[in-house]
């Protein structure tokens, strides 16, 4: 042992770099403790594109409550008034059934896109990734430096400088979390209201204050410490996606046929020329060497934000962020080998086959998406500006007077719009000789107001031929929409009524009738 000049390799601890294995989650140590990652910076086309997409998404998120459309913020979920404004389109609480089509349409769209392109959502659009990679990790990178510097800072004993940096970083984290949660609250209470809340003591709006306080705390915890654990352990969509993808789904993968066996780059340059030539020609010709293209530089592992080795194949931790593509391409360019050793491709494509884009799964999800989208568009475009209900007044079902049969209904109209509206109520399918009281003329309702008023129908005894169904219809003054409700006019058996009439006209005949 003493002859070996090299020191024994240190036992892995929570803070030394781990080599990812396929059978365990890198970020969970064998004692259950967390292995905190310090992913290195990757630069390249995918990072630029992802950053652009993230900035656009963040800008949209931040701006929606500020931009007014038709007098309301672009998106304003007014819970207090139960009115929901989307880009000038207003929905009422009575329209909440539309949520089903909104959510299921979104679900089918995700099914379809996931089957085609894998975890595109996770890497490019999920708020977790967008805020973590493009806000919080940027803050961390700016204050604590690159990956080795961050790891060194973590291992360094606590000092004034370390404490100051940490304090600065966490202060910015908390400020970012507070900004995100305040904007989130603005979606529900509007900005002027939020501004008012912020100026008054927390006690005045303790529920809003508590919400922001707790939500910001959760965001801070999530983005400062929890990070990839959310994607690996908690997120149900991440798990669900495993069931939506197959061998022809686009994933991020390592071309083992080209890369293996891995070999260290030789520094004598003997291999450089043929490879450079191959790189010039767009079609890659297998090199005469015995080693593959992977030079085992481990760059793809160092940049991975979930701590996996993409060369082990598709793994549940992979959020499809494409950092390893950028990292590998950068190295391949440096060693003058073709890029794309790690790339977006299907498992079939990576193993030398051809990706089939049209497959039963795609057709099924596509049909589901088409049906869902059609129903969603139809239901959203046919939302009525009013809610309308006709119901029988409590008490007896009908009343028989000396001259007529009478049914009494209550009509309820809700103006769901934010402007006053005039409504006309009429009956359809009623027989001749019917009289109606109530709703003789148009009624005008204030914005979002509700009206409950009686509608009484009378049929003269001589015209009465038994119960019948009819409909009550409401339209607006301009007749841009109509809502109808079918109700039944109830009454006695007409024969009983006519017998009764006969009796009253000819009281003497009563006995004779009874004998008939």
């Amino acid at each position: 042992m003493s002859e070996d000049p090299r020191p024994a390799p240190p036992r892995p601890t929570r803070d030394t770099p781990h080599r990812p294995v396929r059978d365990s989650v890198t970020t969970i140590n064998t004692d259950g403790s967390r292995y905190f990652l310090y992913p290195a910076d990757a630069r390249g086309w995918f990072l630029s594109a992802r950053r652009l997409s993230a900035y656009v998404l963040i800008a949209v998120y931040l701006l929606l409550p500020w931009v007014p459309v038709n007098g309301h913020p672009a998106v304003f979920l007014d819970v207090a008034e139960r009115r929901f404004h989307f880009l000038g389109y207003t929905l009422a609480a009575q329209d909440s059934w539309l949520l089903f089509f909104g959510v299921s349409g979104l679900g089918f769209a995700l099914f379809f896109l996931t089957a085609l392109f894998g975890r595109l959502w996770c890497g490019w659009a999920c708020p977790q990734t967008v805020f973590l990679d493009h806000v919080y990790r940027r803050i961390e990178r700016w204050i604590e430096g690159d990956a080795p510097a961050r790891r060194a800072l973590k291992l360094a004993p606590m000092s004034g400088a370390k404490f100051a940096r940490r304090l600065f970083k966490h202060t910015l984290y908390i400020l970012a979390s507070l900004a995100i949660t305040h904007l989130f609250l603005a979606y529900f209470v509007s900005l002027p209201e939020l501004w008012l809340f912020m100026h008054e003591t927390p006690g005045e709006h303790w529920s809003a204050f508590l919400f922001v306080f707790i939500a910001a705390g959760l965001l801070y915890f999530n983005f400062a410490w929890f990070r990839e654990q959310l994607c690996i352990v908690i997120c149900p969509y991440g798990r669900l996606q495993s069931a939506l993808t197959d061998d022809h789904t686009l994933v991020i993968g390592y071309d083992a046929r080209r890369g293996e066996p891995r070999g260290k780059l030789r520094h004598d340059g003997t291999e450089d020329l043929p490879r450079a030539a191959a790189h010039q020609a767009t079609v890659f010709a297998p090199p005469p060497a015995t080693t593959g293209d992977c030079i085992a530089c481990n760059r793809c592992v160092q940049v991975c934000p979930t701590g996996i080795d993409i060369r082990h194949g598709l793994q549940l931790e992979c959020i499809g962020c494409a950092a390893c593509i950028d990292a590998c391409d950068e190295v391949m360019i440096k060693v003058r080998r073709p890029t794309g050793l790690i790339r977006y491709d299907s498992l079939a494509g990576l193993s030398g086959g051809v990706t089939r884009w049209i497959r039963p799964r795609i057709i099924l999800y596509g049909v589901l998406l088409a049906v869902g989208a059609t129903v969603a568009i139809w239901s959203f475009s046919t939302v009525k500006p009013a809610n309308f209900l006709v119901y029988r007044m409590s008490g007896a079902a009908y009343f028989v007077g000396s001259e007529e049969v009478r049914d009494q209904f209550m009509v309820r109209i809700v103006n769901k719009r934010t402007v006053p509206a005039t409504f006309l109520v009429s009956t359809e399918g009623v027989p001749a000789g019917i009289r109606q009281t109530g709703f003789a003329g148009p009624v005008t309702l204030a914005p979002m107001a509700e009206l409950v008023s009686p509608l009484v129908l009378l049929v003269d005894r001589e015209h009465y031929n038994g119960p019948f169904k009819f409909s009550v219809k409401v339209t607006d003054a301009a007749r841009t929409f109509a809502l109808t409700r079918e109700v039944e006019f109830m009454g006695p058996d007409p024969r009983l009524l006519h017998e009764d009439d006969e009796e009253r006209k000819h009281p003497a005949k009563k006995k004779g009738d009874a004998h008939d």
Binding site: V21, R34, S394, G395, V452, V456
Partner: protein, 197 residues
Amino acid sequence: MNPHQQPPAGNDSEPQLRPHSYDGIQEYDQRLPNWWLNTLYGAIVFWIAYWFVYMIAGLVAPPGAQVDAEMARIAALKLADSIDVTNDNKFWEMSTNPVFVDAGRQTFNSLCIPCHLPSMRGKSESPTAIGPDLTDMAWIHGGTPKEIYTTVSKGVIVKGMLAWEPVIGQKKTVEVVAYVLSRHQKGEPITVQAENK
């Protein structure tokens, strides 16, 4: 150390396979993350504390009792706000108060006119109207303010007069009575004739 040397495997011992195998599928016995276990232990601690605080020590009233207390508070508030409907003079007072009468007119015009007509004159104005005249001095179900209030609030079910108080509440019911009384004089000679109007 060689910079290209692979770092050691993350988990120094190989994960153990569980002895069972279902459909040829085996599983590893991996350690759960500590943060996950801590949420479980935290939930257990919370449950015990909750159970102790609510059920044993009675430091906080159980949710059911809280609801009951809140309902009792609302009922007490309602009672304190309720109007004395046994006092005829109070009704006459309200019938001269424009605030009550106006509020009553609004309710009357939205709910009562299909039968009693906007003029309140019912069958006297139009023989085809459903409801009786409320402006004359002949009453069917009693003509003192108390009796009118009872008719409006409890209804006359067989005739089709709805029990309105459960629908519109006591305040509006009283206002409607005040509005009807505004067309009458205190002490006018009233007659009660059952049903042949």
